[in-house]
Subunit: 536 residues, 2 copies
């Protein structure tokens, strides 16, 4: 990339309010929205006019056309493309931080970190592409002399599913949005991506969309590899998911939004997979030994995790399940003090703040309020809340088993460890489950672990679920309704698997075979030959 081109990198000043369809800047013809700074209720310029079903058709036709070329780009070329996006994001960091903090009310340090997380994630997938195991290459060589029948030469590799629709999340304007984990893993797999931006941060979305478009130009990828649309989930979102060119969907958001997309995708003439990350209350289990030895410390640290980012994390610890008694009282007392001292911070949108307040009101009638954060007259402020209840009440209440998105948590007091397990067995699927255990707790912890493996995608000991490491071993997923597909993760390198399918090649001539499964291992990757992994 030349210095001259660098000057075209996005700046906050240059926001246009336009969608990006295969490299073209297009003004929507639907109703227009403005981002709101939730910390001030200030309306941010410019207006973002929503797209229509016609824009979806245009973007998906361009994606289908691009797919023909993009799916066959080499691992190395796609790695360069992802790296170019990452470089562009890092270069645009100041503009991104300025706009995303204004649109989200999140602190500068958080957004700065999120830019790095987002570009780091793209670089991780570049590494996954260069390493090559993603091909899933398998070779069962011919056995011409086998009796009673000879064996053909059979080879397997994975291919991209096709154009993917991605729905940006409200709570991570960068890492789970336009160039977030869904987009990075789909692009890595060889799938063009069409993003429906979240209305809460259209300006950040435009900046990131332009960073991707720049990278497409500088690395020579086909223009239709990426499009960015604005619109409502109900209209533009459903149009996108039901478009015949779209072959998979990535979504992070509410349970109602996710299940609507799952239903729409299942009712297509050709159903397609939807990876929706939806709803989780992330139980925390302080076991007796841990409570006895460090109840106060745990109570305080718990509230640190609970109130971080106004509690607007998918992995926010919304439930504490423990055996009742003086040690649990110590924990609750320390947590209540910390909640009581907590200063309200703005939520992401006025709508989220309203929904949070309504959720708290509903809990008030059913559980005991233990503590609230300090009062605040600031707009959209999240006043943290801690409740407690008995296990029997919890089990009989649908309300108490729902997620309140924001800094609210409920302590469920159990008679004994047996009841802790009974409550756990009745929980829905979760993204995370957290155990606090000392040496003396290991028998209980082992029995609990057995249950938690059936309920959660990630199990933590002596830590807090907020903060999801991007790596090879991470699982950010879990049984329904934490996600719509427990066989996958939306964070970490395994996420690329969501957008691939295996194809077998039987007796295909060498000159026509993809290099990943050709003789001589030209890509020098790990392959399974006759069932054994080898790099030969």
């Amino acid at each position: 990339m030349t210095t001259a081109e660098r000057t075209e990198l996005p700046t906050a000043q240059a926001l246009t309010g336009q969608m990006i369809i295969a490299g073209d800047h297009v003004t929507g013809t639907g109703s227009a929205v403005h981002a709101i700074n939730p910390a001030t209720d200030e309306r941010l310029q410019p207006a973002y006019a929503h797209g229509t079903a016609e824009d979806v058709v245009r973007a998906s036709a361009a994606a289908a056309e691009a797919f023909v070329v993009y799916r066959n780009t080499s691992s190395a070329d796609r790695a360069d493309f992802l790296t170019a996006i990452a470089d562009n994001l890092d270069a645009a960091k100041d503009a991104l931080v300025a706009r995303a903090t204004a649109e989200s009310g999140l602190p500068e340090a958080r957004i700065t970190g999120e830019v790095g997380r987002t570009s780091g994630q793209l670089r991780m997938f570049a590494g996954v592409l260069r390493e090559g195991s993603w091909h899933g290459a398998r070779i069962d060589p011919a056995q011409p002399d086998r009796t009673p029948a000879p064996r053909a030469d059979i080879r397997q590799r994975k291919v991209a599913l096709g154009p993917v629709a991605v729905f940006g999340a409200s709570n991570f304007p960068l890492a789970f949005s336009v160039a977030g984990g869904d987009t990075a893993s789909a692009l890595a797999a060889g799938c063009p991506v069409i993003v429906k931006a979240h209305d809460a941060h259209p300006g950040t979305s435009e900046l990131v969309g332009r960073a991707i478009t720049e990278a497409i130009t500088s690395t020579g990828m086909p223009a239709g590899t990426f499009s960015l649309l604005y619109g409502t989930g109900r209209e533009l979102g459903i149009a996108l998911v039901t478009d015949p060119q779209i072959k998979a969907v990535g979504f992070t958001g509410s349970r109602s939004g996710g299940t609507a997309l799952v239903r729409a995708a299942a009712s297509r003439p050709e159903p397609i997979p939807v990876y929706a990350e939806m709803s989780s209350i992330n139980p925390v289990y302080p076991l007796p030994g841990a409570l006895r030895n460090r109840g106060t410390e745990l109570g305080r640290a718990f509230v640190g995790s609970l109130t971080m980012g106004s509690g607007q994390f998918c992995t926010n610890p919304g439930l504490v399940i423990a055996v009742d008694g003086p040690d649990l009282d110590t924990f609750i007392g320390a947590a209540a003090d910390a909640v009581g001292e907590s200063t309200p911070t703005p939520m992401l949108t006025p709508n989220i703040a309203t929904t949070y307040a309504r959720g708290i009101d509903e809990f008030e009638g059913v559980a005991t309020e233990v503590a609230r954060g300090t009062e605040s007259s600031a707009p959209n402020a999240c006043r943290a809340a801690l409740f407690s209840t008995e296990a029997d009440t919890f089990l009989s209440s649908e309300t108490l088993q729902q997620e309140i998105f924001g800094a609210s948590s409920l302590v469920v007091k159990c008679r004994d460890e047996q009841q802790v397990r009974e409550v756990t067995a009745k929980l829905e699927g979760q993204l995370t489950a957290t155990v606090h255990a000392d040496e003396s707790d290991h028998d209980d912890a082992g029995a609990l672990l057995e249950l938690l493996e059936l309920k959660a995608g990630r199990i933590l000991f002596n830590g807090w679920p907020t903060g999801v490491e991007v790596g090879h071993a991470m699982v950010h997923g879990g049984p329904y309704p934490a996600t719509s597909d427990s066989r996958s993760t939306s964070v970490g390198s395994l996420a690329i698997e969501r957008f691939l399918r295996p194809v077998a090649y039987q007796d295909v001539p060498q000159s026509l075979l993809p290099s990943s499964i050709a003789d001589g291992n030209p890509e020098q990757i790990w392959r399974r030959v006759d069932g054994e992994l080898t790099r030969d």
Copy 2:
């Protein structure tokens, strides 16, 4: 296993007509069916009374109870269990061949081969378990000194989904039925299995069910690991798929049956994955050079694949797409002669024979009949059929794009290779696509391969799609409606992936970690440590 126990192995004489629920023999209280020998229309004894929703609840409760133990059995113990089933099947070969030939009308050599295929498949999954890569073990070690924040120790492995419902197929009374690929891969993954037997071969199903139950006893697995039920898809089948204890479904059968199960699974409070292998017409592409050099030979060999087993294979070549001209006429002439000389063989059931005849009647009105097999007055005989039509007619006819289950195929005549690709682009998803190409065809073949990768799960050159090798590289799957989930295969070792999900363990103490991801690699398996595969 002692000699005394060996004598309890199933014999055809001892058929009871009972279901097997967690080791108990249970007589159904619903309407009773008899198997029919389709070659003679003879009614076979005993009667098999259908089960009810209560039997489903009993089997699923037992499966859920067994799951708690079975999911934690070691790879080695499950490998021994699968091997014991295989041994039992091989030991019962004579009884299986006698009953399955009578129930299916298929020749003895075919069923003898299918017993070996079924036991071989179980042994392959025993090998997969012993090799250990199925664990998907990944370790990202802690980085306590990382800045700005330390990295936790994060490990990942795969765990079993839970009890699986398997629907036996009509056309493979062994290899895709009670102990077929779905059951073998689910049991390997650590999932208990409940099979709904196909009404076409209840006696074979009982014999195989008893072979599995014997193996459960001899290897000490929990009784609820396996149950065998009889019933209709509409009642017992839907009850099974909507049972809250069932966590995944394997199915091989019709498109209408598969889509009904997919819909039922999607409408559950907790939706679950359905792996339905449904419908495929398996296009064959004889390219110009191949037609010119060996049109006659290809035409004859094609009919050999077409008429094998009365054409009752998921991979039966129901479509030939080629450029019109004298060389294609040669191919069609040779194929017509071979079809005309073909002797009708019995279809699997009277119902399948009736549906086949109806399908042929529907084609008669739209396409040109090129040849039929010889007349036959034998019951349920499949009189092979070959049709031809122009590409434009094919593209405008919904009828001609449907699968006729049985020995029927349609030659689609195209103006040129461009039209061959146009027709291909409009095809639905397929299990297989077959190219016949000589050296001179490789440019055309390359362009076609590009398209076929988007349409099919397996692409063959210069062979025939019937005959699906069981191995590590095989894909028996494909885009909708070939299957309901193109990301998987129902044949080959990759099939185990369908019944697993990843779980991450963060800072879990060594003493509580599963051995597959513990320090020191006690299972001595391949693991991905910090992104790199290693056996250390």
